[in-house]
Symmetry: none
DNA sequence: CATGAATGAGCTTTCATTCAT
DNA sequence: CATGAATGAAAGCTCATTCAT
């Protein structure tokens, strides 16, 4: 009954990963102890180490798992009609639906990677993959004339990826922060940065006629 | 001699702060131990606790100190001819002159603030002050028609401040990253976001003549 | 089929013992975990405990097994023409043919026996048996006038047995140690100790004639 | 008051070392936990690590300490009238006065060194120093014609040193073992091995007259 | 006959903080 | 003003052994 065993094993790993993820989100990498994770997974430490060889291995697995999801998301984005629109919509979705909860974990990983080689390796790989995915997306956008062709896609991807990863902190730092406003403004920022159709900010003070002349049907995003 | 005592006391505090800052920049908040700081300040732990009641108190003082410097910088920026230009120049200066070294400390502080109330309080205050300063700068820019008046200055400040604080990570994560390219692109991003004069990205594909018609002398930033 | 079952059972035990022996020789008693042994024997821990009730039981079985081999060796030695010669040849063979690899295991067992009663019992029995075998060998030598009759065979056996067991450490402690030289010198030591024919060390500086007068055909071992 | 502090510090280190030594002798290297040592030294673990950076550092200090004592002993031996006599007397003294208690610790160190590099380094150094000291002693003996000049002093030192270090096990393994007998026989073994005057074992069966002819006043050791 | 999931006490080590001097 | 000895809780991790299947 190999299959059953393997399935059970995987399920258990997933169970641990979920418990660990919750702990990490609540307490961060250093703040969440193996004991905490064991308690959350209702499991003895000895047994947990049966599935993962170290705390770092758990982090790694969580990151890989997140990477798969990211790949799926970016894939979906590529298959939308307008890439920049889809990207900013995705960003909005994340920021306004509590998906930013994990940002403190991300931030800590980034900081930790400055002096923990094992974590650095994990984070670096994650960064590389994400940038690669995003770069590919931007290139696709450039081919379809939806993204400014003057931008180097690799460097732009690094910038955009980093902002996407950490911007959730805006919600974290102050519960009263107007998150919807933040998300809207981020949409403006991203659109103006990437989209060649984006109306120059100054245009908005020009008379209506000027606007009418634009052949483009689609309305550019408005700053709030 | 009350005055002398106070001066001595302050000098000692400053001495500790400098040592601690170096340690935090090198090893991060969790990575730098009180022991390390004591060694760096050539001082016993007991004595150090005479000046600061906890590790957090040291962090707090460092942050306050940094805040004073920030205030000075923003003040200087306000008194420049063109505010957005000055801002992106400052950003460029930071990214290309190793000033990003401290980013791991910043990131760790942000993450720590998610679960350490004392740190959260410090970081929150810092954020508030920085955003206030930046918001005032943006407002000044709007009055001078150098910053898009359609942008809510508070929200825009939050966004820009966060990016300024964390973007140094791009250098941290990969020593081979083209930092000059990153800095240039960040200038493009910021200018397009804030500056009402910013040429729409699409323009760059228009014939030269069109560009010539622009009455503005200043050249808009170019994407790489 | 009682008989078949028993044979199978014994074969399995032997299989485990071989795996365990390899692990113990490589990693020592404390260094080799049950896990390691299970992996080496390609077997689950639960199943292993079906054959041996504890780690100590495994050690015990290995020791008993080694004892059988020892008995065979000593038996063979008894049936040689000259007992001391055969003994030192056996010693030389061990030291120069990597048979000393297991010495760290032996040393650890001896040390462990100082505080682990179960191990102590095993080791003690082993010592007793080995000394008994060696004592019998020495007695046989004395009867044939090949071993100094003035030596108490039990005490001499204890001494010689201990040296035989642990001398392999000389190779362990320093890979560059001149093992052949060590083995040769050990032969000198043993011969001078046991063999009544052994030339007093001083003789070696006497003129040839003195040596010629010796009626004994066999040359005593030379110090290097 | 530097001197007082340093003295206090050293005294504390010594205190810990004594407690640790007792624990190691009772329970061995692996068997004695830091907790045990802390309890024995009536001290918290944190404080113990104020004086020693690791368990291995404690072992190292104990070994160095023993080495100083060894150096003193060998020095004293060199300044005796007859070196081999003094050596065997020293050996006898050790074996018959409970000084062999530490042998289980020594054995465990030797075994541990086979797979713990830090311990290996310590033990190796110890071996090297001891052999060097003993080798020098033997050389001195050879110059005075008290030690067989045909023996390579380095190799002989390795052999003798190892036997001296581990022979205490004879007492450990069996409380009823005739330790006085063992010590006497070891004296015979050592004398026959090293001393050029040693009567060949066979002589003891020769008539009295032969013995009388020996010009040497000193009686050679007798086997029991 | 065989599995491997599960336990839990115990290990060495770290560190912010306190306190007697 | 200044020291550094002292604390003790908590960290990540190991491993012989048991037990349900």
């Amino acid at each position: 009954m190999r299959k059953v065993d393997q399935a059970k094993y995987d399920a258990k790993r997933r169970h641990i990963l979920e418990a660990a993820r919750a702990c990490f989100l609540r307490d961060g990498f250093r703040g969440a102890s193996i004991s905490d994770i064991c308690a959350a997974a209702r499991m003895s430490p000895g047994h947990l180490y049966h599935y993962f060889t170290s705390k770092e291995a758990i982090v790694k697995a969580i990151v890989e798992w997140g990477l798969e999801q990211s790949a799926a998301v970016f894939d979906k984005l590529t298959n939308t009609e307008h890439i920049v629109d889809a990207l900013v919509t995705e960003l909005d979705r994340r920021l306004t639906r509590e998906r930013h909860r994990g940002v403190s974990f991300t931030l800590e990983m980034l900081a930790e990677s400055a002096r923990n080689p094992a974590i650095a390796e994990i984070v670096r790989r994650r960064d590389r993959v994400r940038c690669e995915l995003l770069s590919r997306l931007l290139r696709a956008g450039q081919e379809r004339e939806q993204v400014d062709p003057g931008l180097d896609p690799d460097i732009a991807a690094a910038l955009v990826s980093h902002i996407m990863e950490t911007i959730g902190y805006l919600a974290l730092r102050d519960p009263r922060f107007d998150m919807q406003g933040g998300a809207d403004m981020l949409k403006v920022l991203m659109t103006r940065f990437l989209d060649p159709r984006a109306t120059p900010a100054a245009d908005r003070r020009l008379p209506e006629t000027t606007q009418k002349e634009r052949t483009d049907k689609r309305q550019p995003p408005r700053a709030r």
